[in-house]
């Protein structure tokens, strides 16, 4: 494992994108970043610009309108950039499956590195997902 990758696992800065979710997953993500769970212990920070981000958190079913923007955002991110899909809608479209305005789930548009199921997933589940993602990066 290179020193760059080790540093990446020690300070993954996250950027949060809602691709048409019901705001439930988003509230849980914000919950995750509050003092109660204290993700800064692991160096995780919420950043406001995709240019600073290492991890892209995607919530929500990808609507037709937001799909090109999702692709563009992924292209704008400096590589290496990881993608985490959060919530049933992002994973497999949830209750919107077969809907006319949401053709495909997230991983048909951009490569997804970790899936965190739940409607919405609890903050503990998200921490577990991130830990699994970082372990995957370390090659464990």
């Amino acid at each position: 494992m290179g020193i760059k990758l080790k540093a990446l696992t020690k300070s993954p800065w996250v950027f949060h994108l809602s691709t048409g979710s019901c705001n439930n997953c988003d509230i849980e993500i914000l919950d995750l970043l509050t003092p109660r769970f204290d993700l800064e212990r692991f160096g995780i920070l919420l950043v406001g610009s995709i240019r600073h981000a290492d991890v892209l958190l995607v919530t929500g079913v990808v609507t037709r309108k937001v799909a090109p923007r999702l692709k563009r955002l992924y292209e704008q991110a400096p590589k290496p950039c990881l993608v985490v899909a959060i919530g049933s809608c992002a994973l497999g479209q949830g209750i919107f499956k077969g809907s006319y305005n949401a053709p495909q789930p997230v991983d048909r548009y951009i490569p997804v590195d970790a899936y965190i199921p739940g409607c919405p997933p609890k903050p503990e589940a998200m921490i577990m997902g991130i830990v699994k993602l970082l372990n995957k990066l370390k090659g464990k």
Binding site: G2, A7, D38, E40, R51, P80
Partner: protein, 307 residues
């Protein structure tokens, strides 16, 4: 020898290490104020290493040269300031006449570089941030320059940092007098604006304009900006320690006392940052051009009267 001073001991490497340590103290104390545990000691180092390994993106249509060079200008200016200040602290007679003015000029270069980089990055939010940064410079520069004259007047119109330092070592520190106290208070608030920390973090408001001028930066240039900010967190309190609190002496126990002065200023900065809300840019301008300038002028008059 000048290269050694500039790159290793009082210059780049020393300032970078202590600055990163200061930024860790900032994050740790912030975490403790919010009843959190906070990041580990090496966290700023990990951040820097990670940013060095990331891809550097130059936005399409931006001014490439200005965009990539402005972080370097900011870093170079802070390094020169740090070198001058520490040369003054170690042996007060080595620097030249008028170094105070040179330092005041050099301290404006990092915000100017941030403005140039923001405008060069062709992003509306970055332009907005750069615009606000400009107004903020206009606001805080007036009281800050006025306030730096107070120790000069007290030392008998000596415009050299070494002589101010020697005067304060012999005749008591500037904060010991009434004009010094007023000047010190104004200088602390100006320092908060110079560091663009929370009551005055208007140019890079995360919630409104997403870190403003830094929005398009990624990879190495972003790392250089973060490093510059960390170094400013070290250099500016040291500047105030020299001007108002008699500097740091390197004999026996006195060095602990000097470090305590710096840590005290750092903790004041962090506590202001954690207990204040963000003001609007017009409020900041009113605040600096109104009460702060009035206080600074009052301080200068008191200094002339010898109080």
């Amino acid at each position: 020898m000048a290269i050694f001073y500039f790159l290793i001991f009082p210059g780049f490497i020393f300032t970078a290490v202590v600055g990163l340590l200061a930024s860790w103290i900032d994050r740790k104390v912030t975490a403790r104020v919010q009843w959190r545990k906070g990041p580990p000691l090496l966290q700023p180092l990990y951040d820097m290493m990670k940013l060095m390994g990331k891809e550097t993106i130059v936005p399409k249509g931006s001014s490439r040269l200005t965009f990539l060079l402005s972080p370097l200008f900011a870093l170079a200016a802070v390094t020169i300031v740090s070198t001058l200040l520490w040369r003054t602290i170690i042996s007060p007679n080595t620097t030249f006449l008028g170094d105070l003015i040179v330092i005041l000029y050099l301290l404006i270069i990092p915000p100017l570089a941030v403005i140039m980089g923001g405008f060069a990055s062709r992003n509306p939010l970055a332009s907005l941030g750069a615009n606000r940064e400009m107004k903020l410079i206009l606001a805080y520069e007036l009281p800050f320059v006025l306030v730096t004259f107070i120790p000069v007047i007290q030392a008998g119109m000596k415009i050299k940092l070494g002589e101010i330092l020697i005067y304060q070592l012999n005749n008591g520190i500037a904060v010991g007098s009434l004009s010094g106290i007023i000047g010190f208070l104004v200088a602390i608030l100006c320092m908060q604006a110079k560091l663009t920390l929370v009551p005055f973090d208007i140019p890079e408001a995360e919630t409104e304009i997403m870190t403003g001028t830094y929005i398009e930066y990624s990879g190495v240039p972003l790392a250089i900006y973060k490093m510059t900010r960390a170094m400013m967190l070290f250099v500016l309190p040291i500047f105030l320690v020299i001007l108002f609190m008699g500097g740091i002496t390197f004999s026996g126990w006195h060095i602990l006392w000097g470090i305590l002065k710096y840590v005290l200023l750092l903790v004041i900065i962090i506590l202001i940052r954690n207990t204040a809300p963000r003001v609007r840019i017009d409020q900041a301008m009113k605040f600096f051009w109104g009460p702060m300038t009035a206080l600074a002028v009052l301080g200068i008059i008191l200094a002339f009267l010898g109080l």
